[in-house]
Symmetry: C2
Subunit: 237 residues, 2 copies
């Protein structure tokens, strides 16, 4: 197996032994849209790396109401935290854009993280970044209104070091964007209309056109505790 | 210095060398209500352990709108994630109930976590628990209504293995409970009135009386992806 899909955080400092074990035990498979990879609170034996496609992590109530934990593109891993929670899946995972997903036995990661302190530190750094992302998410649900939250979502998809006009491509369809932001479809539609009115953005299918990036950032970032450009995006570069 | 305040997660497996370093470098101080310990994005040189009292972690926008990250009682540590983010404080911290707070240089924790893999693993386990707590928080803000969220907050303060009548003591005043739940005071008041109507709870100052725990759990947990009793609280016992 090609090793390039594993050259991602937090595996920068993993050992040759670990990469060899990956080569031996990783299983790469093509999945169609809609495939459920595992279910919340099921026993977890694997963690996953997305080589191509998109994966939705979610949880749902008995009556089927869904809450999205995250939507991940290629180059991300998921399911690894089950190592630290009695091997129970902390969410369900569904393929939402067809692609290749690699599954790796958790016990291989367990062995490496227990013997390689550098990997443990890199995982701590990754977890901290994720924790701050969640802090920001909770903050925005408290102090941003719905149009500002859509604006923030768009701003995080664009090159924030530029100013003036910009074109932003939505990574997945609007129904999913609404769900990712925790909004009902009607709330999302109303909020999007309001955002257009306030900032002059234009939406054509999956493309959003802006006359002026500053106008959007002034509108959304007024209700955010962090500075614009977003520091975490700058640091990730 | 007495070592007992440090006998808390994630320090169960820390080394004697670390505890000796704590003894030498930890600084214990009594603080009044309202004391700001550090400010969001300031340079961080210390992490903290709460020996007595309560601490509010928060962030705020330029115009002063606050978002609460967490409210912590005695036996918790905070500020430690700055180790993994270029030593920048990820939030501000304020003493909200007077008490004794211990500050410890981050470099002592850095040294220990870099040389003691067991501590790194325990920190990963702590971070994972916190991450799931945040996942739940985001989920509840998506699918629970405001009265259900107050109900959930109350349920997590009580002994969930009992059924029938229960008395719950609010850990801090109602204004803070509202802010912790990300609600405006008016929203909180309306939601509390609705919760009383739906579940028959009675509120006397800082005490909440229930005729029937099951009635409250049926109402709130209908909009939650986890089972009642809450698994994370059972696991923490």
């Amino acid at each position: 197996m090609d090793m390039s899909p594993f050259q991602i955080p937090p595996f920068q400092n993993a050992s040759d032994v670990f990469f060899k074990a990956l080569q031996e035990h990783a299983h790469s498979q093509k999945y169609k849209k809609g495939k459920i990879l595992f279910v919340h609170e099921d026993r977890a034996n694997f963690f996953y790396v997305i080589q191509t496609g998109w994966v939705k992590l979610f949880r749902e109530t008995i009556d089927g109401t869904q809450s999205i934990v995250d939507i991940l593109p290629a180059g991300h891993l998921f399911g690894e935290t089950a190592l630290f929670t009695q091997n129970l899946s902390p969410y369900s995972a569904e393929v939402i854009e067809p692609g290749i997903i690699i599954s790796i036995p958790l016990k291989i990661l367990k062995k490496e993280v227990e013997s390689n302190n550098k990997l443990a530190l890199d995982m701590l750094a990754s977890m901290t970044r994720y924790r701050h992302q969640q802090d920001r998410e909770i903050e925005h649900r408290t102090i941003q209104n719905a149009p500002q939250r859509i604006g923030c979502f768009l701003l995080r998809l664009t090159d924030q070091n530029k100013s003036g006009p910009a074109i932003i491509h939505l990574p997945y369809d609007k129904t999913l964007v609404a769900a990712r932001l925790g909004m009902q479809p009607e709330t999302f539609s109303r909020a999007l209309a309001k955002l257009k009115e306030k900032t002059g953005i234009r939406i054509k299918g999956a493309t959003v056109e802006l006359n002026n990036l500053d106008q959007l950032s002034q509108y959304s970032c007024a209700a955010c505790s962090s500075e614009f450009p977003c520091k975490d995006l700058q640091a990730a570069k």
